[in-house]
């Protein structure tokens, strides 16, 4: 049974993630109005926000330690927050700043934080194989670390996912695959492109347990994930979990969702996992004042991260040539010899290379 303390922690992760996305909407639109120009403003490029996905990240990551690995897809913020990725440096990365998690080289869909073993891939399903690899390393080293690969329901048709299920299964690797089913692969509804409505059915073909959670109920996710993570930690192999979530902010910012029926958009907004969890907490005797306090704390944390990020310097152009290699060849430069020394001296970003 989930404790009230754990429920409160999940609630805090979820309201942090929701507020974070809401604030990023404001920041992203700076310089992009009235005419939307994807390359303008302080946060350029694509931005895939995860409002409506919070229960999945929070419910799963509650069971994880820093030494457990998580790989996330192009919609990673709620997962990163739940995994304990440094929020300030993550935000600085999204703003493309020098002190960002990836020194401004990765951006929002390529967040990497070695301190909590968090990595991303912006290519559909391609975070699955590295998660299998992390699990392989844990098994070879006889640790009880586990790995979790998050992906969307559109990714379950991709070879990288299906091959990973088999590799994890045949070696009994400690991996949990978490499919976040928000019904839409950009503009393509699930039933147009995938012949099963319950993605957890994929597990049967690989002889591993598959669980579907039909609502984005954080408690239900917590319970299913608890079992799956324990199974993995105990050396009993992988599990596939699919969680119904909702896409509340389009595929990416600027997506007018003209292809999506109004009723579907409304339905997604009505099913609020955060409100559901607040109800659960109230039924456990948590007061509205206590919930307000959690929300305020979360909002402050988000504001602090955003303010900090915006004060950070932009990368110097010459930094573009650094970090191609960990151990750069003596004469790696191909730009006519003008590349700077990329020897990776310690700098103020506090990176651990």
């Amino acid at each position: 049974m989930v404790s009230v303390t754990d429920l409160q922690t999940m609630y805090e992760q979820m309201v942090t993630a929701r507020h974070y996305e809401e604030r990023l909407v404001d920041e992203y639109l700076v310089g992009k109005q009235p005419a939307f120009d994807i390359s303008a403003g302080p946060i350029p490029g694509e931005l895939h926000l995860a409002a409506g996905h919070e229960a999945s990240g929070a419910g799963v990551c509650m069971h994880l330690r820093d030494d457990d690995t998580v790989t996330a897809p192009h919609r990673p913020h709620h997962i990163a927050i739940a995994k304990g990725v440094d929020l300030k440096r993550m935000t600085a990365e999204i703003f493309g700043r020098k002190t960002g998690l990836c020194r401004g080289k990765g951006g929002h869909m390529h967040l990497f934080d070695p301190d909590v073993n968090f990595a991303c891939s912006g290519i559909i399903a391609q975070g699955c194989p590295p998660a299998v690899g992390a699990a392989m390393a844990a098994k070879k080293r006889n640790t009880d670390s586990v790995a979790v690969a998050f992906l969307g329901e559109g990714a379950i048709d991709q070879g990288g996912f299906l091959e990973s299920l088999n590799l994890a299964a045949v070696h009994d690797l400690p991996v949990v695959f978490v499919v976040e089913d928000n019904d839409w692969a950009i503009s393509m509804p699930k039933d147009r492109v995938t012949d099963v409505q319950n993605g957890a059915q994929r597990a049967a073909g690989f002889d591993l347990p598959g669980v579907r959670i039909d609502s984005d109920d954080a408690t239900a996710v917590y319970e299913a994930a608890g079992e799956a993570v324990m199974r993995a930690r105990d050396g009993n192999g992988p599990t596939l979990i699919e969680v119904q979530v909702h896409r509340r902010m389009g595929h990416f910012m600027g997506d007018a969702e003209a292809y999506r029926p109004e009723a579907d958009i409304d339905r997604a907004k009505q099913r609020d996992s955060i409100e559901r969890l607040a109800e659960d907490l109230r039924s456990h005797g948590v007061t509205d004042d206590e919930l307000d306090e959690i929300r305020e704390r979360a909002h402050e944390r988000v504001e602090e991260a955003i303010s900090w990020a915006k004060e950070q310097p932009e990368p110097d152009p010459e930094e573009a040539y650094e970090n191609v290699f960990t151990n750069p060849p003596a004469q790696a430069a191909t730009d006519g010899g003008s590349a700077t020394d990329a020897s990776g001296d310690a700098d103020e970003t506090g990176g651990d290379n």
């Binding site: 005419a35 939307f36 120009d37 994807i38 390359s39 350029p44 490029g45 694509e46 990365e93 493309g96 700043r97 960002g100 990836c102 401004g104 080289k105 990765g106 951006g107 869909m109 390529h110 891939s121 912006g122 290519i123 559909i124 399903a125 391609q126 559109g154 990714a155 048709d157 991709q158 070879g159 990288g160 692969a185 950009i186 503009s187 393509m188 147009r192 492109v193 995938t194 600027g254 003209a258 292809y259 932009e314 990368p315 110097d316 152009p317 010459e318 930094e319 573009a320 040539y321 191609v324 790696a332 430069a333 191909t334 730009d335 590349a339």
Partner: protein
């Protein structure tokens, strides 16, 4: 069937200006009307009309059987396009971003490109692979590449890179009618998208009738006597801008748009180099083992005695970084091109 008028000015002299996206779609729709065997498949190509507006309106006219949304399964659907093409159809399959080629590389490199040859010519693969390329909008290393060299390198694929609406239409007609696999690489920044403003150059006059542009004919966009600038895609427009600036300083740059990488119009490059003696090659792919090196090698092979100086500008062998200051550093800009031409001219 109309063929291209070599008088570019005359051909584009029409009141009707189109964006590159509209021109490309117009050619696809024309071919789909003419030939039942042509169909289009890809991710978000039906209701969405292509993330970069490569298929706008096609679903309405042709329906879901011929404008197919497909699962996120590039190995399966790009491989299926190869199979349908070998069966005699003329599929157009879209890879949403060229960067995603990795998940289906075997189908492209080992089936699409090689089956004609390995079958001793008994099979043809008359398909078009459309794909969005390029950066300049801060989308980082997995969504900003052009990979021109990656596709031009392996034998068996024709590779097309339009830089204007006029070329986009003519090259698309040629691509669909071609009996070989054609990789049609359209630059996002040139498509005329409301949310990713284009420079002014790619929107051109486009005749209503169908016309083809033969592969392997580069376009001399601007004649000049002092320095040859060979480029393609987005950088055609940056080179033209640079040439205008240089003109004010009395430097006369000749700008050549390659338009197709395979086949490559070496003769037009050599003719120009013989005249100017100085060659700058600019592209948006990685520098080493790529387009810039290939053009310079061909110039050296064919016109070594005429060459007095060469230079190249490309992505300097780093993955495309996210932050604006970093991406601007590595993607050759108008000023970089102007500076490089000045250096060659000295």
């Amino acid at each position: 069937m109309a063929t291209e008028s070599r008088d570019y000015t005359e051909a584009t002299e029409t009141d009707r200006e189109l964006t590159m996206s509209r021109a490309m779609v117009e050619a696809i729709a024309w071919e789909m009307r003419e030939n039942e065997e042509v169909f289009y498949m890809g991710e978000d190509v039906a209701d969405y009309g292509g993330i970069f507006s490569s298929t706008t309106g096609l679903l309405d006219e042709f329906g879901r059987d011929r404008v197919m949304d497909v699962p996120i399964s590039e190995t399966a659907y790009l491989g299926a396009a190869v199979g349908a093409a070998q069966a005699g159809m003329r599929p157009i399959a879209e890879l949403m971003f060229v960067d995603f080629f990795g998940v289906a590389m075997d189908q492209l490199y080992n089936n699409m490109a090689k089956n004609t040859y390995m079958s001793g010519g008994s099979f043809s693969v008359p398909m078009v692979l459309t794909t969005a390329v390029g950066g300049t909008y801060n989308d980082a290393g997995q969504h900003s590449q052009t990979l021109y060299g990656t596709f031009a390198h392996l034998p068996g694929m024709k590779v097309v890179v339009p830089s204007t609406a006029y070329d986009a239409k003519g090259l698309m007609h040629s691509a669909i009618r071609d009996d070989d696999p054609v990789v049609y690489m359209f630059h996002k920044r040139l498509m005329g998208l409301g949310w990713m403003p284009s420079p002014s150059g790619p929107k051109t006059g486009v005749p209503k009738d169908d016309y083809t542009i033969p592969f392997g004919e580069a376009d001399v966009k601007r004649p000049g006597d002092d320095v040859t600038v060979v480029t393609l895609g987005l950088h055609v427009h940056r080179a033209m801008e640079a040439a205008e600036q240089l003109d004010d300083d009395g430097i006369d740059a000749e700008v050549i748009d390659l338009r197709t990488l395979v086949p490559l119009d070496t003769e037009t490059v050599l003719d120009s180099v013989r005249k100017t003696g100085k060659l700058l090659v600019v592209d948006e792919d990685y520098q080493s083992f790529g387009v810039t090196g290939e053009i310079i090698a061909r110039a050296a092979e064919g016109a070594l005695d005429d060459l007095s100086a060469v230079k190249r500008l490309a992505i300097p062998d780093v993955p495309i970084p996210y932050a604006r200051s970093l991406e601007d550093e590595v993607n050759p800009g108008t000023e970089d091109i102007a500076a490089a031409v000045r250096e060659l001219h000295e």
